[in-house]
């Protein structure tokens, strides 16, 4: 199996009776970027939670690189090579941007082994953090406390944190949510830069972006996959149009 | 923003300037006789500490506030009924050159002070804590107890059972080292005297509900109920026993089960309860008459056992060291070790050199209705057991 394959087999997630994800089966091919779209409440984020280990499955299997990771904890999936950003920004307030990234780099490179040395003493960590910093374009912000960044920059940092472990599978949950109109362009460039060589699942509502960056689209409605295919196919799909525009079938 | 910064800096400065303050405040003057009173002034035992303070201050006031020609000065500290603050505060006062440690209330704090006294070679006077281990054979050289021991009070219970003709005893004992061994002691002696122990329950210290135990007692054929618990636990027990009218066909008694303070907290249910009494204001002797009058003049109230014992012990100590006419601690200790106190408010006390425990008579009383000016519920002294029947030889 090549690194970066991710597949789910009939996965189900339910919250107090409500089936948020109801039998999703899909093979995500290595190196592809999948745009996951669908109306509110379709179960997109829950699907991501199921893949990253944040949501408990009530049925089904998740395979990562051919390995069954269904019962594995979040941190173990990360160590196998799964990265993720969140819809609601989860950065470490009270730390600088660089420190945020160093934390991630440490987990990735050392797993705390030489924990007694000052955190600044690890050139590899710093290098890795700084390279990601450059990748996400926040080098000038390195020493700013993370919570003082603009919303757009915080979203970039969010993506950077997911990126640091150099994951083969990257889950991006609305990386552009709340990003101002003027910043959409650079943010999209960033996404395009970082996805190379990875399997990426992207939840995004900005259709311009999704259409332009995705190699394939997966449309979810009511906890299930309604359709999948190339952007053109999806655009032409009557069912999808109905779901979005609410036109009569 | 400017104002905020100013406020912050001011706060910081204030903090910084308070740091060295204690040194300035507490420059000691060695020109007096300094007594460190470490007692409970807060919490459930705060009442005891306050009464002891009144008794002790009266003992000094009645000799003109002087000892060995120097002014007597008290420092009162609240140990919160905990050993750690007791030691902490005592250490500070010792650093000022204290000549006598007085206290504490709880046996735990007293034991802690005792180890400090031994280590610092400063006399330590105990007038309340009853734990037997405070006055062990060949124990702490500088520690003395002028009040009752629990063992002695348990012996009074045995004497009372014999005298009253009680045949079967059901006991409730606080689950605590001192009270457990006190009960064992009582049980052995009572059995020897032909009394049957029909039951005993160890109740947790601070127990708030005795109803099940009381029910077991009420159903038993015991004619005597022994309560080896004091303070809150004793009051709670008597209150709840009163609600089933247990006193009507069984005699309730215990080592320090009731006095005027506890009776006031118990209410009517205290009537008829028998208890060891450490000191009582009604004792008929000149020394006591003088003390009670002075105490009532000063505080408008009858002295409690805590006040009485504190007064008595401190006066005894001061009488003895006044007689030595010396400022040498060892001389004081040697003199007190062998002293006899003929002028005690309880009649006569005698210090035992072997364990530094005052040998004394044992008082026993019953709660009765009091007429003004006496409290509503008051102790009537019913027995006075001789010292020889209560103390075994050294």
């Amino acid at each position: 199996m090549t690194a970066g394959s991710l597949s789910c087999n009939d996965i189900q997630v339910s919250f107090s009776g409500l089936k948020a994800v109801n039998g999703v089966t899909f093979d995500f091919q290595p190196g592809q970027l999948y745009g996951i779209i669908g109306p509110n409440g379709a179960g997109k984020t829950t699907l991501m939670n199921a893949l990253s280990g944040h949501a408990k499955l009530s049925g089904g299997q998740v395979m990562l690189d051919g390995r069954d990771v269904t019962g594995l904890s979040v941190h173990k999936r990360t160590r196998i090579g799964l990265g993720r950003s969140f819809q609601i920004t989860k950065i470490f307030a009270g730390m600088s941007v660089l420190e945020n990234l160093q934390l991630a780099a440490f987990a990735h490179l050392y797993r705390l082994q030489p924990f007694w040395l000052p955190a600044g003493r690890f050139p590899a960590v710093r290098e890795r953090a700084e390279s990601v910093l450059e990748e996400i374009g926040l080098t000038v912000m390195a020493h700013r406390p993370a919570e003082t960044l603009s919303h757009g920059d915080q979203r970039a940092l969010e993506v950077g944190l997911a990126l640091l472990s150099n994951p083969s599978v990257l889950l991006l949950d609305e990386p552009l949510a709340g990003v101002g109109h003027d910043q959409i362009g650079p943010a999209m460039e960033l996404i395009k830069r970082i996805v190379k060589g990875r399997t990426v699942l992207l939840i995004e509502h900005n259709m311009d972006v999704v259409m332009r960056v995705s190699s394939a689209l997966v449309v979810m409605v009511q906890g299930q996959i309604l359709a999948s295919g190339s952007p053109e196919e999806i655009r032409a799909n009557a069912e999808v149009r109905a779901a979005y525009l609410g036109e009569e079938e | 923003m400017k104002r905020r910064n100013f406020l912050r800096s001011a706060g910081a400065l204030t903090l910084a300037s308070t740091l060295p303050a204690p040194m300035v405040l507490r420059a000691a003057t060695p020109e007096d006789y300094h007594i460190a009173g470490i007692l409970s002034f807060s919490g459930a035992y705060g009442l005891i500490g306050n009464d002891m303070r009144k008794g002790a201050e009266l003992a000094v006031a009645m000799r003109g506030g002087e000892l060995l020609g120097k002014k007597v000065r008290f420092s009162w500290e609240d140990d919160e009924t905990k050993p750690q603050p007791a030691v902490q505060k005592a250490s500070r006062l010792l650093a000022e050159g204290t000549q006598l440690m007085f206290g504490a209330v709880s046996s735990a704090s007293t034991l802690a002070l005792q180890s400090l006294s031994t280590q610092r070679k400063v006399p330590h006077l105990v007038t309340i804590s009853a734990d037997d281990s405070i006055t062990k054979m060949d124990g702490a050289r500088y520690s003395f107890r002028t009040s009752n021991t629990l063992a002695m009070e348990m012996n009074m219970c045995v004497e009372f059972v014999k005298k009253r003709g009680i045949k079967r005893v059901y006991a409730v004992t606080a689950d605590y080292q001192a009270t457990r061994s006190a009960f064992d002691d009582f049980a052995a002696k009572a059995k020897a005297a032909g009394v049957e122990i029909v039951g005993n329950d160890f109740a947790p210290l601070g127990n708030r509900d005795f109803s099940v135990i009381i029910d077991k007692m009420a159903r038993s054929d015991a004619d005597g109920i022994l309560v080896v618990a004091t303070g809150n636990d004793g009051v709670t027990f008597c209150k709840q026993a009163g609600q089933v009218g247990m006193g009507q066909n069984k005699v309730l008694f215990g080592p320090v089960l009731q006095d005027e303070i506890f009776a006031a907290a118990t209410g009517e249910a205290a009537l008829g309860v028998n208890s060891g009494v450490r000191y009582h204001f009604s004792l008929d002797n000149p020394a006591n008459a003088e003390f009670v009058t002075a105490y009532r003049d000063a505080n408008g109230d009858y002295p409690s056992a805590f006040a009485g014992e504190a007064f008595d012990g401190l006066r005894w100590w001061m009488d003895v060291i006044e007689a030595t006419d010396s400022w040498d601690v060892e001389t004081w200790v040697d003199a007190f070790e062998t002293s006899v106190y003929e002028n005690s408010v309880e009649g006569r006390k005698e210090m035992r050199a072997c364990d530094h425990q005052a040998k004394q008579v044992g008082l026993w009383g019953e709660v009765v209705k009091g007429e003004a000016p006496l409290p509503d519920l008051t102790m009537k002294i019913t027995e006075e057991f001789s010292a020889n029947s209560l103390f075994s030889d050294c």
Binding site: - | R8, D78, L116
Partner: protein, 316 residues
């Protein structure tokens, strides 16, 4: 940033002065007071690793504190173990007990964690007070806890013992500074700031929480042992939940999550207690008011005052 550094330096200076003064002052009460402050400060900086750094409110630290004290006392008095090995044993006992408590308490978080640690510690208190009286001396405790016997120095002299306490305190402080600055310390902060993200980065959040609790237990154990030997006495009172409450108040007053804040908090607490208790018997109530105000208005305690890092939004 510079403001922060100046604030840190100022705090450091105040603490340094506090530590140095007793060496030059013959006044023993000052020595005693600072000894006490340093011991509680050791306890507080350990406690803050769990509370301020990792973000778990433990109400069970009294048990760890007391367990350390008992470990030293029992080993030295009953088994003839030396003081220094006894002190190490206190650290180990504190850590092991923390591990055991964690087995139960770490299954839950937030307020449940606070209540559960409280209940567990209170159970230890009850055990120590009566069922284990054969080894703990019951409520009467054990008097005569020894002090070190080293290099022929008489540590029963409070000045000399003070030197020993300072040494242990500084070692503890230095280790804690290293730990907090290390990747491990950063990771603990990350757990507090956002545990979901920390897990997503590949950190094992549960074992980080557990490790913090264990290290904190070792600090509490050493502090408890030092306190027992300072006052030559130990009793289950040290395990009572009000002890946990005291260390919590100290830490919040000083500034949780900062290295030096808790030390100042302890100093302020003990000073207020010393000074207020001479003026009024209601000092605990006044302390309560100070604590309430600090909770509402000074989110970062005294340390926040020095560093000026209050979030402006909080003050409204």
């Amino acid at each position: 940033m510079t403001r922060r550094i100046i604030g840190q330096a100022l705090m450091g200076i105040i603490i340094a002065v506090m530590i140095i003064v007793p060496f030059f002052v013959q006044d023993e009460q000052w020595v005693n007071l600072v000894s006490l402050i340093l011991i509680w400060a050791l306890f507080a900086i350990g406690f803050d690793l769990v509370f301020g750094v990792t973000g778990m409110l433990s109400f069970g630290h009294a048990a760890l504190f007391g367990a350390g004290g008992y470990a030293l006392t029992i080993l030295t008095l009953s088994y003839g173990v030396g003081f220094i090995p006894g002190l190490f044993a206190a650290a180990i006992v504190g850590a092991v007990l923390a591990y055991l408590m964690g087995l139960f308490a770490l299954r839950v978080s937030g307020l449940f964690f606070a209540l559960l640690t409280l209940a567990l510690a209170q159970m230890m208190y009850i055990l120590a007070s009566n069922k284990l009286r054969a080894i703990t001396g019951g409520l009467d405790g054990i008097p005569g806890v020894p002090r070190p016997d080293l290099f022929g120095i008489n540590f029963y002299d409070n000045h000399n013992y003070y030197g020993f306490i300072v040494a242990v305190f500084l070692i503890g402080l230095a280790l804690m500074a290293l730990l907090r600055g290390s990747p491990f310390g950063r990771a603990l902060r990350a757990v507090q700031a956002n545990d979901v993200r920390a897990a997503q980065l590949g950190y094992n959040v549960h074992s980080l929480r557990q490790s913090a609790f264990i290290v904190s237990g070792a600090y509490a154990g050493v502090a408890g042992a030092l306190l027992a030997s300072l006052i030559f006495y130990i009793s289950p009172q040290m395990l009572h939940w009000s002890t946990s409450g005291d260390v919590l108040i100290m830490t919040v007053l000083g500034g949780k999550g900062t290295l030096l804040g808790p030390i100042l908090g302890v100093a302020l607490f003990e000073l207020l207690k010393e000074e207020l208790s001479q003026i009024t018997q209601y000092w605990y109530g006044i302390l309560g008011l100070v604590f309430i105000f600090a909770t509402i208005f000074l989110r970062n305690g005294i340390a926040g005052m020095f560093q000026g890092d209050q979030d402006e939004g909080d003050m409204q």
